[in-house]
Structure formats: C-alpha cells, structure tokens
C-alpha cells in the first residue's frame, strides 16, 4: 500500500498533518504500537524539514512486506554539509521558525534514532531526498 502526501511549504500551521494521517492508517492496520510511535516521530521530523527547510515537497509512505518506507522529496536549497546537519543542536532555522518551536537541531538525530535506515541525497540548489526505512 502506498500513501502520497503533498507537503505545502506555504502554510506551517498544517505541518504534521501527513504524519498524523499516516499514523491513523497504521493504527487501523493493527501495526505494533511501538513501531507506530517510531514511524510517527521520524515521519513528523522529516515532514517538518521538507516544509520549513525544503520549501515544501512530497512524501510517499509505503507499507510493503516486512517494512515501512518513507520517501520525502523537495526542490529546496539542499544541505551543504550533511555531517554538520546530523549533529545534535545544529540548526539554520530562522528566528521566525524558531518562534514556532522548531530549530532545536534535533530533527535529523531523532530520525536516525527511530529508524532502521536513513539515507539522504542532497545537492545544493537542487533539493533533498530523504529515504527512511522502519522494519516491521
């Protein structure tokens, strides 16, 4: 099963809705609560990054066989230094974004912690694709 979500970069107030909606799908399917929790956290963080840093994009969430795969694509500025971006506390979030409660620099570390695999392809000026896998 594949679910597709459009992640608008215009409206931060609906950020998190794709994650909430996919979580409800997993609940209906009777997926283990611990796994749902990990998917929810990882998906939320990636969704927010796509919206606030990537300028919006899309997400494909697939439940297939023994794993859940989440792919986030944006055509934003890309991540110039991935090692730096992965560090806890590193953030380029603007003051406006920080006022909303984002910008702790914990999103990517959270994603790493709660997924079984994480792959980021990014090119400055072109965009970023984040692929996450959680084993069932």
């Amino acid at each position: 099963m594949i679910k597709r979500y459009i992640l608008s970069g215009e409206d931060f107030s609906i950020a998190g809705e794709a994650s909430s909606s996919f979580k409800a799908v997993l609940k209906k399917l009777g997926i283990d609560a611990g796994i749902i929790r990990r998917v929810a956290i990882a998906m939320y963080e990636a969704e927010i990054n796509t919206i606030v840093h990537g300028g919006g994009g899309e997400c494909e969430a697939e439940i297939e066989g023994n794993k859940i795969t989440l792919v986030f694509r944006d055509q934003g500025p890309g991540i110039p230094n991935l090692d730096l971006a992965m560090q806890e506390g590193y953030s380029t979030a603007t003051e406006e974004i920080r006022e909303l409660g984002f910008g702790a620099g914990m999103g990517l570390p959270n994603i790493k912690k709660y997924t079984d695999s994480m792959n980021i392809e990014t090119e400055p000026g072109k965009g970023t694709t984040v692929t996450l896998v959680i084993n069932l």
């Binding site: 107030s13 929790r37 929810a40 909303l100 409660g101 984002f102 702790a104 914990m106 959270n110």
Partner: protein, 110 residues
C-alpha cells in the same frame, strides 16, 4: 493517576471540550522545543509548556501524551482551541510555573 484527578489536585483550568475522563497520566515532560518533545516525551505524559501555537497539536497527537498543560497563564487562540477540540486533545491551563506544576505532580505520583 487519571487526568481528571490531576485537574482536581492541581486546580487546573480545562480550556478544551475534549473528553479526558478515561485518560491516564504517568508523569510529565517539560519543554518548548518541538523536536525535543517529539524525541523525549513518553506516551501518557502530561506535556508542560508555554508554547501555544497550532503546531503543538500534531506533537501532542503523535507522541500520545495525555494532555498539554500551559503554564504561567499562557492561553491559546480560537483556531488552536477549535482544532484541539476536533482532534480530541486535552489542553489545561495554570498560572503556576512549570517547576511548581511538575513538583506538585511528583508529590501526588509518589
């Protein structure tokens, strides 16, 4: 402890219409940075914060915390309130500081 008992014991104001009678609360997490809360808050925690914009609602849903406690008399606007009601999220309010609320909670949960 039930959320209803917490409300009574701490004199919290209930600002949402969401049902809370069957909700358990097992401790709390204090924080205003959303991805900190996302990574650290546990299911059935009360989340004590001064953050009151609409983005707190997705965090509450996804972490499955039992309620949001806004401290230091922070309130929410109409948009946040109606969406919280729609989604069944419980928001409570208090003039006390996060420390005071957590401390009182700790005494009760001891």
């Amino acid at each position: 402890m039930k959320v209803s008992e917490l409300i009574k014991a701490l004199g919290l104001e209930v600002i949402t219409e969401s049902s809370y009678s069957d909700k358990e609360v097992n401790g709390c997490y204090i924080g205003d940075l959303l991805s900190r809360v996302m990574g650290k808050a546990q299911e059935n925690n009360a989340w004590i914060t001064i953050m009151n914009n609409i983005n707190i609602l997705a965090v509450a849903t996804l972490t499955e915390i039992s309620c949001i406690i806004l401290c230091e008399n922070v309130g929410v606007d109409e948009t946040v309130l109606s969406k919280a009601n729609e989604e069944g999220i419980v928001i409570l309010k208090s003039p006390k500081s996060a420390y005071e609320i957590a401390n009182e909670m700790g005494e009760i949960l001891k």
